[in-house]
Amino acid sequence: MIRLLVLLPLLLVACQAVPYAPSRMTEYAGAYGSDLVWEGNVTMTGDVLILQGGSLTIRAGTEVHVVPAEGTQIDPEYFSSLTELLVRGRLRIEGTAERPVRFVIVERPELEAIAWAGITLDAAGASLIRHAVIPRSETGVRCVGSAPEIIASRIENCRYGIIAQAGSHAKILDNHITGGEGGVFVWRGSNPYLKGNRIDGNEEEGVFVDATSRPYLDRNLVTGNAIGLALWSRDLPYDDVEVKGNAEDLRWLGTGQ
């Protein structure tokens, strides 16, 4: 009886203190409408769509292995022929400086330099991408009508680093965007805040801003690109102190009308 009395509270405590157990599933492809948590090693075996109302949280230290699409999909499910992470719900990438979240390409022979589509936030809810490492995608992060915080991430060797379009007012802070065709593109009524980013070594533009957008360009180091800043509006305020060492630091586009 005494033994039972001792065991019962222990049993009760054990039942209540079951630690959070993430899904044992580690391979993902398809559409998800629930609240998904990735940690440890997970694999995107195909396109992943987070539906409106759903969420994806990626814990610090996670490695997301991306399996590039076989051949070229001629009838892609979503936007790209390449493997893509498309978010219409919410995305939280919770990396830290010590334990970033890494997207890792699953290599195979004859894989092209651009190996996957990247992350698209399509009218997504409140989202965070912090301390992520995103390599070799068509676009590191594409924001469509979305306003995520993209912080302290490294976007490397992507064709387009970050695209903000269709009224995307993202906070893009302290990232390193390097080695792609272009760094940051701001199109179609988008007003992101870019501060403290290092944008370097891109074959074309460091930052491109169209006539309809008014980002706030604040203390970004833009260097080693073909064109540092390509800006349409002549009255766009920007801090050019650290826009240097590009083949051409500033290009005014069009007539400025």
Binding site: G33, L49, F79, F208
Partner: protein
């Protein structure tokens, strides 16, 4: 006797016509095995098949609603119309036919599609509104004409393969993707394709695109891969990329390809004759040319962002006889990026530059909606 006859007639009429108050309801999986006419409200709470050889006629002013049923949680409703026969949905401007969601708060992908499978007869949708579907119009091995239709708020406005489709005077707007097809022969004319991610996307197809307004699409206005295209008299404006042709051949003539965020035209391989177009005010370049054959002649390329023309391929580009804007001849080279600017790129021949643009008339585009 007369009264009895009158009552009998009334009874018969009541029994055979669809009441406006009570919709005709199809639940579960059902098949129409004989020619059927819908006139009024119809509710499809399942998958309704039109058998081969059977014609479903839908009268003007009818509304067909589909309930939402997402059994596997992938965000795509499965209830739909699956036709292996013939669909005649011919509305009028005043009394269009509506295919829509039955949900109180409808959204994209509430229901599946108007599916045409192996339906190579005379399928016609005229003055129809198709909304909140996964694929508004969907066809395999089918033949169809869509006229004066509005396809909106679908995941894909229209998608088909191995089909012959004419889309005329339609509005395909606010879908995730507008029109997507492969291995098909398509005439797309006098239509408005706007505010999708991809406006038109096709592979291995023959596309004749004319008189269309393609605008505000967020990835590409028009993309053709490994196809044959004839693109004439369109306005393809204010998209991210205007016209993106990969390994395709054909002609691009008399279009307005202006104000696109990246390029008015982006060519990758293939062989295209580009003549008599206006390519103005595009963000990165009027034309980006990568290892394609063909020529660029008689076009106006003023006021583009970084360059009028970029040759990013190793081969030469024949760009004689264009108007480059009000710039002195010696500055045309500044508007062109080629071998002179980057090692490994081919040269661009800009001789015989026009002193003024060819007479230009903005293409007339439009729809009845």
């Amino acid at each position: 006797m007369m009264r009895s006859l009158l009552c009998l007639c009334l009874l018969f009429f009541a029994a055979t016509s669809t009441s406006a108050a009570e919709p005709l309801v199809y639940r579960g999986e059902q098949t129409l095995w004989q020619d059927t006419v819908w006139d009024g409200e119809v509710l499809i709470d399942g998958i309704l098949t039109v058998a081969p050889g059977v014609t479903l006629e839908i009268r003007p002013g009818s509304t067909v609603r589909f309930t939402r049923n997402d059994s596997n949680g992938d965000g795509i409703g499965e209830h739909e119309l699956f036709s292996q026969g013939t669909l005649h949905a011919v509305g009028t401007p005043q009394r269009p036919i509506r295919f829509t969601s039955a949900e109180a708060s409808p959204r994209r992908s509430d229901w599946g599609a108007l599916n045409m499978m192996m339906a190579e007869t005379d399928n016609r949708l005229e003055h129809c509104i198709v909304e909140y579907a996964y694929r508004g119009f969907h066809a395999h091995f089918a033949s169809a004409v869509l006229r004066d239709c509005l396809l909106r708020a679908n995941q894909r406005g229209a998608q088909f393969q191995e089909s012959r489709v004419v889309i005329e005077r339609c509005r395909i707007i606010d879908n995730s993707n507008g029109v997507q097809f492969r291995d098909s022969v398509v005439e797309l004319r006098d239509s408005h394709i706007a505010r999708n991610q991809w406006g038109v996307r096709c592979v291995y197809s023959t596309l004749k695109l004319s008189g269309c307004l393609v605008e505000d699409n967020l990835i590409n206005g028009v993309n053709a891969r490994e196809g044959t295209v004839a693109v004439s008299g369109n306005r393809i404006v204010a998209n991210r990329r205007g016209l993106y042709l990969q390994k395709s051949r054909g002609t691009v003539a008399g279009n307005d390809l202006s104000g696109n965020s990246e390029h008015g035209i982006f060519l990758e391989e293939g062989n295209i004759e580009i003549t008599g177009n206006r390519l103005a005010g595009n963000g990165r370049a009027g034309v980006r040319w990568v290892n394609a054959g063909g020529l660029l002649k008689g076009n106006a390329l003023p006021g583009n962002g970084e360059y009028a023309l970029i040759n990013d391929g190793a081969g030469p580009v024949d760009a004689r006889g264009n108007w480059w804007g009000d710039v002195p001849p010696e500055l045309i080279a500044v508007a062109v990026r080629d071998a002179a600017d980057r090692a490994g790129m081919g040269p661009v021949d800009t001789r015989e530059a026009l002193q003024k643009p060819s007479p230009w008339v903005t293409p007339v585009t439009g729809t009845s909606y």
